[in-house]
């Protein structure tokens, strides 16, 4: 009943409002929507969204395919061709071809290829966040990039990460959660990153006795030496699959379930050849012994058993709660209202994890629209940098310096060391020292001192530039206003811009 009412209200709301009838609250709401469903407004965006109608804009962003990006996509393809190659083709082109006793030239070439494919992905991620007209798509892919975090610096992940970005995140961020989870579980980048690739069924007692018998003896037969090399189970992925990707930490599962899941997933490995690259089920290392998960005996064995279990995790009610809560933290606030989490979890469950409908349930909720949640989030370094580059209409010729600064701010693109991805709460980021990097960035950007990035006269030439007047229209505190005026009096409009970008208010969204 309540749901039907909400849907009716939604219909009403999605009628575009006429441009003339704006109130200051509508303006503030448009600003809020651009902060949360985009990486902040560009100058003029608030007016454009108001003109289109905030709800019409939201509806459009919820269907990314309705927004044409052909031209933009061509630019990205030029910047990062590896994002458009199959895994095997990426291997052919970029995979470090490691040879024994290689020459210095070969080493150099190998390192160059690795660096090139890493840079392509990092730059494309940044560029899309800044410029893609499908802003909400980028905002949500940023979420999933951290949810299914991989580190491009780990071994072969370097050249496999572009395919992961394209085939797992981009392909499924506006599809079903279950499909994204399965795609991630089978992608070589994840299999390598979380070591499932080297997880094998444990040795049988007989095999173990054989290995023990020879012990450290110098004359171990080859077959026994090979057994000894097998490292057996690796629980890394199984644990993270439950802890980070589905159920949430320490919920429902125990150590014995981690071990059981690792056994279920033995044989889920990656083929990394140049002719063929992708998922490969290896029956020879798969554990066919009976297994129990959460106290229930699992049926069957083999690849199918794994698929069933992963699917079961995707559909688990704790997963619906865990994913929903995380999405609400990201889109609404660090401590989202329980009422919202509960309602959206219901949508998640009812739609079997249909993500666009889950997103819609959040951004059309009364909680998302409550003025109290506006400006209550602290931008991550990535959000801060991207929103500043958008606000200043900066043109990026080289992203190298910006990437370096992001690293200094603690958020190097695609290089999160932990499998839990970068956090997006103030608690994780608001430490002493953090702001100083942001001030330096703001100062350099505003003074055209940020290498590879151009800010034009249109931005800093006059106090009434679109950028400066948009920033001045923010809800600024008295302290900030005074500080900006003081800085401008001695340092002109560049100082004015720097102070505005480095102000506490611009750190908020």
């Amino acid at each position: 009943m309540r749901l039907r009412l909400a849907a009716g209200l939604l219909l009403l709301l999605s009628v575009p409002l006429s441009a003339g009838a704006q109130t200051s609250d509508e303006r503030a709401f448009a600003q809020h929507v651009l902060n949360r469903m985009a990486f902040g407004p560009r100058p003029g965006d608030v007016d454009r969204v108001l003109k289109q109608g905030v709800n019409a804009w939201i509806d459009q962003q919820l269907k990314p395919s309705s927004i044409d990006i052909e031209v933009f996509d061509d630019e990205i393809a030029k910047l990062a061709p590896s994002l458009y190659l199959s895994l095997a083709d990426t291997a052919k082109r970029y995979r470090p071809d490691y040879k024994k006793n290689e020459s210095r030239e070969q080493t150099k070439k190998r390192n160059q290829n690795r660096a090139a494919v890493q840079k392509q992905l990092r730059d494309a991620v940044l560029r899309r966040a800044i410029d893609s007209p499908r802003q909400f798509e980028e905002v949500m892919i940023n979420f999933w990039r951290n949810h299914f975090s991989i580190d491009q610096n780990k071994n072969d992940v370097a050249w496999m990460a572009p395919s992961f970005e394209a085939e797992v995140l981009r392909n499924h961020a506006f599809g079903k959660f279950e499909n994204m989870l399965i795609a991630s579980a089978r992608h070589p980048a994840m299999l390598v990153y979380l070591d499932n690739n080297i997880s094998q069924k444990p040795l049988t007692d007989q095999q173990q006795r054989l290995v023990d018998r020879y012990g450290e003896n110098e004359n171990v037969p080859r077959s026994v030496a090979a057994l000894g090399r097998e490292r057996g189970l690796n629980e890394n992925y199984a644990r993270e699959l439950m802890e980070l990707h589905t159920l949430g930490v320490d919920r429902r599962y125990r150590q014995r379930d981690v071990t059981a899941l690792a056994r279920v997933l033995t044989g889920w490995t990656a083929k990394l050849g140049r002719k063929e690259a992708g998922f490969r089920f290896r029956a020879d290392v798969h554990d066919t012994e009976p297994k129990s998960l959460f106290g229930t005996r699992l049926r069957g064995e083999g690849e199918r058993q794994g698929l069933e279990v992963v699917r079961g995790l995707a559909r688990h009610k704790l997963t619906a709660d865990f994913i929903t809560r995380k999405l609400c933290v990201y889109l609404v606030g660090d401590n989202p209202p329980e009422s919202l989490v509960k309602n959206v979890t219901r949508v998640f469950t009812r739609t079997k994890g249909d993500l666009p409908r889950v997103y819609k349930a959040i951004v059309t909720s009364k909680e998302f629209r409550d003025p109290a949640v506006r400006g209550a989030k602290f931008k991550t370094p990535f959000e801060f940098v991207v929103s500043a580059l958008r606000m200043t209409d900066a043109k990026m010729q080289s992203a190298d310096r910006t990437q370096k600064l992001l690293e200094e701010m603690g958020q190097p693109t695609y290089r999160c060391l932990d499998p839990d991805g970068f956090a997006d709460t103030a608690e994780a980021w608001l430490d002493p020292g953090v702001l100083v990097h942001r001030w330096r960035f703001a100062w350099d950007l505003a003074h055209r001192d940020l290498k590879g990035v151009k800010v034009t006269d249109a931005t800093v030439g006059s106090e009434t530039s679109a950028t400066l007047s948009t920033l001045a229209a923010l809800d600024l505190s008295q302290d900030t206003r005074e500080a900006v005026a003081e800085a401008a009096a001695s340092g002109g409009n560049s100082a004015r811009l720097a102070l505005l970008l480095g102000s506490p208010e611009f750190m908020q969204q």
Binding site: E407, V434, D479, A487
Partner: protein, 427 residues
């Protein structure tokens, strides 16, 4: 295996296991340490993490072991700086070898994790959280120490720990706020932005006098509360950095160019300022030498030389303050005993640490060395872990700071039982 201090004793310059001879560097440092303790100066721990899995055997070289030369035909060190008839230092670590002889440095061999991982990623993570195989604690061991010993002092600026680099090493991440800053300086940036962060006392005064604000915190909107948090963090950043800059006014010469030298110079300035710095941590990256590791010269040799010269400059720069300063180097694991097909080494198990400074029982090789014979190795290829790194950490915290790890359940599911290696002097 015997490894005596024969050379040391022969030259008669220095210390036996913690016994400092009058006139020696160690003696001078011991005197300085006693004075510092009497004056209430806190000791400082400087942790240097050699990322990538530093090779123990080409740093602390078992030159007297035939097997070493046999399994490393192209990369074995032939001209080690011998400290006894079994062990020597890589020739690029001449300065560190001198400290060993002077009784202010000791290697600890066969250190490592109870978890068998050979993944950089996991091994570093487990080590820096001091929680092998466990995800129970998310905070670094150094941060946990800071949190556990935090007294809510009235002091508004506290510089108990720093990382003079862009991001905190994982060992320092956690609840206790630690400043991460690549260098001091930043003065101009601080000046430019402090007004926006409400730092001027006049503004504060105006507020206190009931100006526009003085709002009840309960009436704050979430956005206002967030702005306040940000402003407070900005204020704290500025205050801590000012403190750091004030303390960092004095120079420091002789450091090699590069990140490590710069970081150590900055840390030395803070220690010399005597503001109560307890912990500094830093990374030295690039020890993953799978190919062309080099021998007496080459890639690894250059890095060992940088380490040695930087630490030498640090010790000279600190002078008497080195008496209450301890440097501890570590890495996530060691490397294969034998070289591979690319004149390099692959990931192994046990690694090594080095401890240096006044509090150290130098001139001695600690740890549980068992030789290089196959039956002494793991999987027939790697050094076995004989010293759990948690015991090294526990002994360090206890002897330097009087912090008893076991009493605080510091390590998840593990007690060090205060098993002392004896590499730090007891007060």
């Amino acid at each position: 295996m015997q490894y005596t201090r024969r050379d040391v004793l022969k030259t008669g310059t220095a210390a036996m296991a913690g016994l400092a001879l009058p006139g020696s560097v160690a003696f001078a440092q011991a005197q300085a340490a006693a004075k510092a303790a009497a004056a209430g100066v806190k000791p400082t721990l400087v942790v240097i993490y050699l990322r990538g899995g530093a090779d123990p055997l080409n740093a602390i070289v078992p030159h007297g072991d035939e097997r070493y030369h046999k399994v490393r035909p192209t990369i074995a060190i032939k001209n080690a700086r011998k400290v006894n008839d079994y062990f020597g230092f890589h020739p690029a670590m001449e300065e560190l070898a001198n400290m060993y002889s002077a009784g202010t440095l000791c290697p600890i061999m066969n250190t490592g994790s109870t978890h068998p991982t050979r993944s950089h990623f996991d091994a570093q993570d487990f080590m820096e959280r001091a929680a092998p195989g466990s995800r129970e604690v998310t905070e670094g061991w150094l941060n946990r120490y800071l949190t556990a010993t935090h007294v809510d002092a009235a002091k508004d600026v506290e510089l108990r720990a720093v990382a003079m680099q862009a991001t905190l090493p994982r060992s320092l991440r956690g609840e206790f706020p630690v400043l991460a800053m690549p260098d001091g300086g930043a003065g101009d940036v601080l000046d430019r932005f402090e007004a926006a962060y409400d730092c001027e006392s006049s503004r504060e005064a105006r507020r206190k006098n009931g100006g526009e604000a003085a709002k009840d915190a309960a009436l704050e909107t979430p956005a206002q509360a967030m702005r306040r948090r940000i402003a407070e963090s900005g204020r704290e950043s500025i205050a801590q950095l000012r403190e750091l800059n004030k303390a960092s006014s004095k120079g420091g010469k002789g450091y090699p160019k590069g990140r490590l030298g710069n970081q150590l110079r900055s840390v030395a300035r803070l220690i010399k300022a005597g503001k109560g710095l307890e912990i500094a941590a830093m990374d030295y990256d690039g020890w993953d030498h799978h190919a062309r590791q080099g021998g007496s010269s080459g890639t690894m040799s250059n890095m060992l030389s940088t380490l040695s010269k930087s630490l030498d400059a640090f010790a000279k720069d600190l002078g008497p303050a080195m008496g209450h300063t301890m440097v501890l180097t570590m890495s996530e694991f060691g490397r294969t005993v034998a070289e591979n097909g690319n004149q390099g080494t692959d990931h192994g198990r046990a690694g090594f640490m080095m401890a240096m400074g006044g509090p150290v029982v130098g001139g001695k090789i600690h740890g549980g060395w068992k030789g290089l014979e196959k039956n002494a190795l793991v999987d027939g290829r790697d050094l076995k872990v004989q010293v759990d790194f948690r015991n090294v950490f526990a002994e360090t915290l206890q002897t330097l700071f009087g912090f008893r790890a076991d009493e605080h359940d510091f390590f998840p599911d593990y007690k060090s039982n205060e098993k002392s290696l004896g590499f730090v002097k007891r007060a």
